[in-house]
């Protein structure tokens, strides 16, 4: 391994880390402002001067100065490491997501899709750990709801992703983008919808936010959390939005494909990812929360059959077209 190899690896790791620390904040700030305007409010206006652009930076500074409190009844070790378990998987996943053609990817992995799905599934463990370790009834209920939700979305999520892999004939994420073609928008539409909806449920975002339903169980598994640990859970949620939207972009919306030359490919990935993030925010404002049993019904009687149908259609079309 030469010096340039080491430098390149370092540059890629730093690049992924920078994306991981900026894009979630951008999405979070957009949520503050977009939600506010959709509800005829202004949202944050003070921090940083111009339309409260530095609100999340100020929040971060505040979180970093808060006391570290672990409830006396809690399972201390598990309680303390839960936020890290929730956060780090989303950082690792980012490395496999291609932003542009060629080598514009953190690391091209041959089994990229498989790795991404496996690592993303780890993040939920953080919430389950938090729910159990807090020794709080609200947290326990939140954790149980998270687990119930996991049963509902994970299968359609995986099946829809498998459909994209079948259509492309590869598990490599850059390979899937390279094989993409505009007619996938129609052909893979049910798969894309299932993937995105199931992903929203994984992130516990409205309308699937019953695990953290604030009007019922305070804040679910995160009830006892405060300060930096709470901030890490929040960061995990927004990093999750970025990862889900980027993955949907890569698998179903053609990633870096767009009308302009390939050099602008990274811009297309970014634009598509942010547009989907806006949809995530929009859905939060527009729809009321489902109940856990409604989610189960939606998943098992709607998403799973739809995903199976998509698999059949993908298989037939692929073989029929050679």
């Amino acid at each position: 391994m030469t010096v340039s190899d080491v430098l390149e690896a370092a540059a890629r790791v730093v690049g992924v880390l920078v994306v991981f620390l900026t894009l979630p904040l951008l999405v979070g700030q957009t949520e503050h402002k977009a939600m506010a305007h959709m509800q005829s409010r202004l949202g944050p206006m003070y921090a940083g001067g111009f339309h409260g652009w530095a609100q999340l930076v100020a929040d971060g500074v505040k979180f970093a100065q808060k006391e570290d409190i672990v409830p006396a009844a809690a399972d201390r070790v598990v309680f303390k490491i839960a936020p890290a378990v929730a956060l780090i998987p989303y950082l690792v996943v980012l490395v496999a997501i291609p932003v542009g053609p060629g080598n514009q990817v953190g690391q091209a992995l041959d089994a990229g899709l498989f790795v991404v799905l496996a690592v993303m599934a780890v993040g939920v463990l953080g919430t389950l750990m938090a729910g159990w370790a807090s020794a709080n009834k609200f947290s326990l209920l939140g954790g149980l709801r998270t687990a119930a939700q996991l049963m509902a979305y994970e299968l359609p999520f995986i099946l829809a992703a498998a459909s994209a892999a079948m259509a492309a004939g590869t598990l490599s994420l850059p390979g899937i983008v390279a094989a993409w073609n505009p007619w996938w928008l129609l052909w893979q539409l049910p798969g894309a919808a299932v993937f995105f909806v199931a992903g929203l449920a994984e992130l516990q975002r409205p309308p699937f936010d019953m695990p953290v339903a604030d009007s019922e169980i305070i804040f679910g598994a995160y009830t006892e959390y405060t300060g930096l640990r709470f901030a890490l859970f929040l960061l995990a949620e927004y990093a999750g939005i970025v990862v889900l939207c980027a993955l949907t972009t890569v698998l179903f919306l053609g990633g870096w494909h767009g009308p302009f030359p390939d050099q602008l490919g990274w811009l297309w990935t970014l634009v598509k990812t942010l547009a989907l993030s806006f949809v995530v925010i929009w859905v939060r404002v527009a729809y009321p929360r489902l109940r856990e049993d409604q989610l189960q019904r939606l998943a098992w009687q709607g998403l799973v059959p739809l995903a199976l149908l998509q698999l059949a259609v993908t298989g037939v079309v692929r073989v029929a077209l050679g």
Partner: protein
């Protein structure tokens, strides 16, 4: 870094960076935060009143049937991935497609059976 496993070096490195990021954040937090132990702040939160019993209460897990169903299906779904990469390759074609329909058919019949049995409703 080449080869099938070579690429995972960077993934491992990023995992380390993630752990490091969290560690640095908590070290900074340790330097910046006040530490005032004691008081009522470590009492379990139950809307402000004194907690009743312990937090690890007994609970009816209503979705255990979903859990069984999920495990069955998720294990099946794993087999789709290796198959997905080769099924349309030259020399496979129609035969693998029929196999897929048998596979999806099993899943679908299982789901329909569970549905018919009334398992897919929240009890």
């Amino acid at each position: 870094m080449d080869g099938f496993y070579g690429g995972y070096g960077l993934v491992g490195l990023l995992l380390l960076v993630g752990v490091l990021f969290v560690t640095v954040a908590f070290v900074a937090n340790g330097l910046l935060r006040p530490t005032v132990p004691g008081g009522d702040k470590t009492v379990t939160y139950e809307c402000g009143v004194d907690p009743v019993g312990e937090g690890w209460a007994q609970n009816h897990i209503r979705y255990y049937v979903f859990a069984y169903l999920y495990v069955v299906f998720a294990v099946d779904a794993i087999y789709l991935f290796p198959w997905a990469t080769v099924f349309a390759a030259p020399g496979f074609g129609a035969a693998t497609l029929v196999e897929m329909f048998v596979f999806i058919g099993f899943l679908a019949v299982g789901l329909l059976y569970a549905w018919k049995k009334g398992v897919l409703s929240w009890v």
